[in-house]
């Protein structure tokens, strides 16, 4: 129960942080980090996948309402959670994670290389969906790709930073 409450508070903080601080700071046209994805990297993998999907959808809608995006965050979160469920089922062994005292992927359990691939690939899927819906035209494909790459790196660094803050 406390774990759920903790997740809920982190979700609210990340949503407000995204809508009122990160989106308000001018970082240029290419860099648009979305560190709220951290929530899905600290959510236990063994939770009900339907619950995570629906919860993630409402979390996305909440950010959309705060940020005035109307559905873009919600759609990209649904897409990334669907992809993450697929990746978790194929590449993560929950029992071995549990033996190491964790419920989600960390650097300690899987090593830097795997962790980076895992987090970056999920961030990339999210950002690609997000920018596709945001740009909404094929003529801007390369701009969209560049935004995805630059923003994914920014998001990855912010996630590492926030994760270390939460841990401490």
């Amino acid at each position: 129960m406390i774990a759920f409450l903790r997740l809920f508070i982190i979700a609210a903080v990340l949503a407000f942080l995204q809508a009122f601080i990160i989106q308000q700071v001018d970082m240029g046209i290419w860099l648009r980090p979305m560190p709220y994805l951290l929530l899905f990297f600290i959510t236990p993998i063994n939770l009900n996948k339907y619950g995570i999907l629906v919860g993630g959808f409402f979390f996305g809608l909440f950010i959309d309402i705060l940020a005035g995006n109307f559905g873009i965050h919600a759609a990209s979160i649904v897409a990334v959670l669907f992809a993450k469920n697929f990746i978790d089922q194929r590449f993560i062994d929950f029992d071995s994670l549990k033996l190491q005292g964790e419920t989600y992927v960390t650097v300690k359990t899987k090593g830097w290389l795997f962790f980076s691939y895992y987090v970056l690939s999920i961030i990339a899927i999210h950002h690609l969906t997000f920018f596709m819906l945001d740009y909404f035209e094929f003529v801007s494909f390369f701009r969209m790709l560049l935004s995805t790459i630059v923003s994914a790196i920014g998001t990855f660094l912010l996630i590492l930073l926030f994760k270390s803050i939460i841990k401490s």
Partner: protein, 286 residues
């Protein structure tokens, strides 16, 4: 049913994800101004393309009817030319009125034709009207006759700069005196009963006249609006009431009012002159 439920159960997670994704995308289309306008413009453009394809197909499929109309019109024009040839020989020294012999010295041009397209037309009201894409600027005037390649259509009642409104044959106020060439009869009045847009009624024809089914009915040369010999239709049914001195005649109209496209407005260039001569006669009769 069981198989369907099993399939739904097996794929419930992707289906739920798809549903939520679709809902979110729907929100984007509805509330994001840029995405909404992009989606809206793309859909409009797509719909227009589909409409154009459909119009092309329907025009192609309608070619048969159009060809049939043109064939009938050609036939009528050709038969008029034959009549004119005779007229040149017979009435050489008289003034003969004709619409298509402008080049011949002994002829006067009685009728002027203006081609138009129907832009709106009704057939289901008691009083039906049509609108054409030619108006005052193109020479269309009130009182001009309107015909289609297959028969009479109506009379122009209002004109604007570039459009005109006409009273259709399918109107309770429309009446015309017909001519039945086979028995050389100029009698009765044709009007529309309001029941069926393919037929009209011919009233006040004496029961002694030998009317038969299939007889052709055309415009009479007594009309100062319509040129003579324009098809009105063919006799479909002839009946008599015991206590009446007149036939009850149903006429199958030669114009298909549900498929009107191209029409001709006809101006009688001697309309006013004929009317000025008719008025003293009426005064004398009075």
């Amino acid at each position: 049913m069981f198989i369907v439920l099993q399939w739904l159960k097996r794929n419930s997670y992707p289906l739920l994800a798809l549903f939520l994704f679709g809902f979110a995308v729907n929100q984007i289309m509805r509330f994001q101004i840029y995405q909404h306008s992009y989606y809206y413009n793309s859909s409009i453009s797509f719909a227009r393309t589909i409409d154009q394809w459909r119009n092309n197909v329907s025009s192609y499929l309608n070619l048969k009817n159009e060809n049939e109309g043109l064939r009938q019109e050609n036939l009528r024009l050709r038969s008029q030319l034959n009549i004119n040839n005779i007229a040149v020989n017979t009435f050489k020294d008289t003034t003969y009125f004709d619409s298509i012999s402008k080049s011949l010295n002994n002829y006067k041009v009685a009728y002027t034709y203006i081609r138009a397209n129907i832009v709106r037309n009704t057939v289901s009201s008691r009083n039906n009207y049509f609108i054409i894409d030619q108006g005052k600027n193109q020479g269309v005037l009130e009182g001009m006759a309107v015909i289609s390649p297959t028969g009479i259509v109506g009379i122009i009642i209002n004109t604007s700069e570039n459009f005109s409104r006409g009273m259709s044959v399918l109107n309770s106020k429309f009446e015309i005196t017909p001519y039945i060439p086979k028995i050389e009869l100029r009698q009765g009045v044709i009007g529309w009963s309001g029941m069926d847009y393919t037929v009209a009624d011919l009233k006040e024809v004496n029961r002694t006249e030998q009317l038969k089914n299939g007889m052709e009915v055309v415009t009479s040369n007594y009309s100062s609006i319509f040129p003579p010999n324009i098809p009105i239709g063919t006799i479909k049914e002839v009946s008599q009431k015991n206590n009446s001195n007149f036939h009850q005649v149903t006429i199958k109209l030669s114009t298909d009012f549900s498929r009107l496209q191209t029409v001709y407005c006809i101006k009688n260039n001697y309309h006013l002159e004929i009317d000025s001569l008719s008025n003293p006669i009426i005064d004398e009769v009075k």
